[in-house]
């Protein structure tokens, strides 16, 4: 079963670039609403993270909505006065839309980071430069290695009675000592790694980058679909006329705009559509077996 996120990393990256881009540069309330709903739906389905991120998002939405009317006093419809400054309905609505933009973009970005595991990122960078991808891969490994090493050295030093976390100065001295051992160790063992690289022909000539992901025809189709739907969305946004200040004036119902909303809505729930289709096909295949 080939789920959406199993597609070629380049296609997946392009997808998130499209949805995030449209969301970020739009002040169209319909687009933002679609984006927010779809991103939350995607997040709930494909990125398990409990309730916490949603609570955070809700708080962020409220705070960001409240900030705009407090600092921006444009607009004709005065709701009430706060410290002799007018709080306007226009500023509130604009605040809500921008807050929606930020929160929806955050959801998309979070989904992107979940989808882009280190292998996928490496694949993307590997296409740009095999050297860069190797450096990234080594860095990822070294961070993990040094972290574990730090813990081991700290334990050793403690067990030899050299590290006393009883008082802060001692603890600081102890940490400095651990860091000094860690650096010596990293240099010493870096030599072994360097030798191992050289022994295996690193630096003998042009390097290739082994790609774990193939660019299939289905990926090409996906890319075309992404671009077409994004273009439709952008044209739709362009056709809609929106003014927030001094008074809200919107013409959201141009036929072109409606087509654009449709296009963007399909784009933003495309992962759900593809995965559901695959799941149904899978069930059908299995029952056929």
């Amino acid at each position: 079963m080939r789920r959406f996120h199993d597609s070629n990393p380049a296609a997946v990256a392009l997808y998130y670039l499209c949805v995030t881009g449209v969301t970020m540069f739009s002040v169209n309330p319909v687009i933002i609403s679609i984006s927010l709903l779809a991103s939350v739906l995607n997040y709930c389905l494909y990125a398990e993270g409990g309730v916490k991120p949603h609570v955070f998002s809700a708080v962020l939405l409220i705070v960001l909505t409240a900030v705009n009317p407090l600092v921006n006093h444009n607009g004709m419809t005065v709701l009430f006065y706060l410290n002799d400054r007018p709080i306007t309905a226009e500023a509130c609505i604009y605040g809500l839309v921008t807050a929606g933009t930020v929160v929806a973009s955050l959801y998309w970005i979070r989904l992107f980071t979940k989808a882009m595991t280190s292998d996928r990122l490496l694949y993307l960078f590997g296409r740009l430069s095999p050297k860069l991808s190797l450096i990234l891969s080594m860095s990822i490994r070294y961070v993990e290695l040094l972290r574990g090493r730090w813990r081991r050295i700290r334990d050793t030093q403690r067990a030899l009675g050299l590290y006393d976390d009883g008082n802060p100065i001692d603890a600081l001295k102890g940490s400095a000592r651990v860091l000094s051992i860690l650096i010596t160790w990293a240099i010493e063992n870096g030599i072994i790694t360097a030798e191992s690289m050289e022994a295996r022909g690193y630096g003998t000539g042009r390097r290739m980058s082994f790609r774990m992901f193939r660019f299939r025809s289905s990926d090409a189709i996906l890319v075309i679909v992404f671009i077409a739907l994004t273009a439709l969305g952008v044209i739709g946004i362009g056709a809609a006329k929106i003014v927030y200040y001094p008074a809200i004036g919107m013409d959201l119902t141009e036929p072109v705009s409606i087509a654009g909303y449709g296009g963007f809505a399909v784009l933003s729930i495309l992962p759900v559509i593809i995965n559901t289709k695959e799941a149904v096909r899978w069930r059908y295949l299995r029952s056929a077996v």
Binding site: L145, I153, T156, A159, I192, E195, R200, Y202, M212
Partner: protein
């Protein structure tokens, strides 16, 4: 056909008067399986590294090395990388990348192979070495044995003519190590790759290899089939420790005939013979005071992770050497850390000299009570020389059964593994612990260093220090431990006096017991 022709080879390190290698003449044929043995500092590593141009140490090289008919130094860099492969001792540091598949592809990537070629070789190699199940894992998550297998597999992707291995199993437990050696043997038989390996672990390797080269002080002492060398050695030979147990028992017994090498051959000869008697008198358990009591300890690293220790219980008596044996990655080291109070169990109690660990306040636990020496002695060292490192340890040094002062001017990272272990141990004794916990003390040591370490531990025991060691080295535990325990599945599965323990086990026991097993009681070491 000769692959390597080495004639009159000598080597001297810069600023050194003495030769690390002298007049070495060796011919290694295509498909040979050659084992290099000898004491630490005999030039094994130097010789192996001279065979791989990228790994050569700086220094003055004399004599000739020809590879496949041409002088080695004329070999093109890419050809050398592909045709001559090198696997070193430490499983961890040789790994370059973060994912198993990437590590496998690394050699092929460097050699600039085509995408389809890399894919084929990586797939083939992963399948052959049984790597497929962990192909997509992060390299940091692998066990030591898996890491070393990955190192081997990743150089095999280059389809080399010769594999050079410098003590590849020194950091592995005996069962994993034997498996690694079997893989090498299989590779040698099935693909015809030439294998040149240096190793302290004679037991599994010697019976399998075609040729054994004994090096001492930079010279070749013996170069022949292992059985032929064994036939020529006598009881007093200093090279006896490099032979497997069966051969040593045979030579010491002075029997006539062909020398046995493997446990199987040894059993054919020694069936029914009686050797040494049980060496420790059994003491009753009641009249001893407990130094350490571990009661139903449970530990796990994360909330949702499985238990590493599940109901660990044990009592270590004052003034004994207690060995906890088990395979790599079974949780022995975690047990040591929990016992030393470095990690907190979520259930259960650890009592040290009658008091719970948390009753030791203000770091008093690690002053004059417990010292834990970890596997990697490097994490102990802080200073630029051994002398500075051992400052304040004069009392300890004065009592040592050997002299460490020749090492004083050296950097702790530049001395051999065995020496490093001894220096670290002295460092750990500085706080005058009553309980000394050792994590894999004999890892990577040659037979001579092991004997020294065992002597030191027994001396410590006699001076009243209780020693708890966790180890995978059964032979080492048999030499110095009073009691042994088998650690399995988070708890102690069996615990007995050393003799009874070794005689009771079938796999996790010394080679001597495996040879004599079922015939009599009381053989621990030959």
């Amino acid at each position: 056909m000769a692959l390597f022709e080495i004639s009159g080879l000598s080597f001297r390190y810069p600023k050194s008067e003495a030769y690390a290698l002298k007049d070495v003449d060796i011919v290694i044929g295509q498909g040979d399986f050659v084992t290099l043995v000898g004491p630490t500092g005999s030039g094994k590593s130097t010789l192996l590294r001279l065979l791989k141009p990228e790994m050569q140490f700086n220094g003055e090289i004399g004599g000739k090395i020809r590879f496949d008919g041409k002088p080695l130094h004329t070999l093109d860099a890419r050809e050398s990388a592909a045709r001559i492969s090198f696997v070193a001792q430490s499983p961890e540091e040789q790994i370059v990348t973060d994912k198993v598949w990437h590590e496998l592809a690394f050699t092929a990537e460097n050699l600039g192979m085509k995408q389809s070629e890399i894919a084929r070789r990586v797939a083939e190699t992963a399948a052959y070495f049984g790597i497929a199940p962990w192909y997509r894992q992060a390299t940091a998550q692998l066990s030591g044995g898996q890491k070393q297998l990955l190192n081997l597999a990743s150089v095999m992707v280059g389809e080399p003519d010769v594999l050079i291995l410098d003590e590849p199993t020194a950091q592995l437990d005996p069962i994993t190590a034997a498996r690694f050696i079997d893989t090498l043997y299989k590779l040698n038989r099935e693909t015809g790759v030439t294998v040149v390996i240096s190793e302290h672990r004679a037991e599994e390797l010697i019976p399998l290899c075609d040729r054994m080269i004994v090096l001492d002080k930079g010279c070749v002492v013996y170069d022949d089939a292992p059985r032929d060398i064994a036939d020529r050695l006598d009881k007093s030979s200093p090279y006896l420790p490099y032979l497997p147990q069966a051969a040593r028992m045979f030579i010491e017994s002075g029997k006539a005939g062909r020398c046995p090498l493997s446990v199987r051959e040894g059993r054919r000869i020694f069936g029914g013979t009686q050797t040494n008697e049980s060496k420790t008198a059994r003491r009753s358990e009641d009249d001893r005071t407990a130094a350490l009591e571990i009661m139903d300890v449970f530990f796990r690293y994360e909330k949702d992770a499985p238990d590493v220790l599940s109901g660990l219980s044990a009592t270590v008596y004052a003034g004994e050497i207690f060995a906890v044996l088990g395979a790599n990655g079974c949780g022995k080291s975690t047990a040591a850390a929990v016992i030393a109070g470095l990690k907190k169990p979520y259930s259960g109690k650890v009592k040290l000299f009658g008091r719970a660990l948390k009753e030791y306040k203000n770091g008093s636990l690690y002053k004059e009570n417990v010292s834990l020496l970890p596997q990697d002695a490097e994490s102990v060292f802080l200073r630029a020389s051994v002398k500075e490192e051992l400052e304040g340890c004069e009392e300890v040094l004065a009592k040592l059964p050997f002299d460490l002062s020749p090492l004083f001017s050296r950097h702790p990272y530049d001395i051999s593994g065995g020496e490093r272990q001894l220096v670290a141990l002295c460092r750990a004794l500085k706080s005058k612990p009553r309980l000394l916990i050792l994590d894999e003390p004999s890892k990577g040591l040659d037979p001579v260093s092991k004997r020294r370490l065992a002597e030191l531990l027994i001396q410590l025991k006699n001076s009243g220090v209780t020693v708890l060691m966790v180890s995978h080295d059964v032979e080492f535990a048999a030499v110095c431990a009073d009691r042994c325990a088998l650690f399995f599945d988070g708890a102690i599965a069996a615990c007995e006096e050393t003799d009874g323990f070794m005689n009771g086990n079938r796999y996790y026991t010394t080679a001597a017991v495996r040879i004599l097993r079922g015939r009599h009681e009381g053989a621990v070491v030959g």
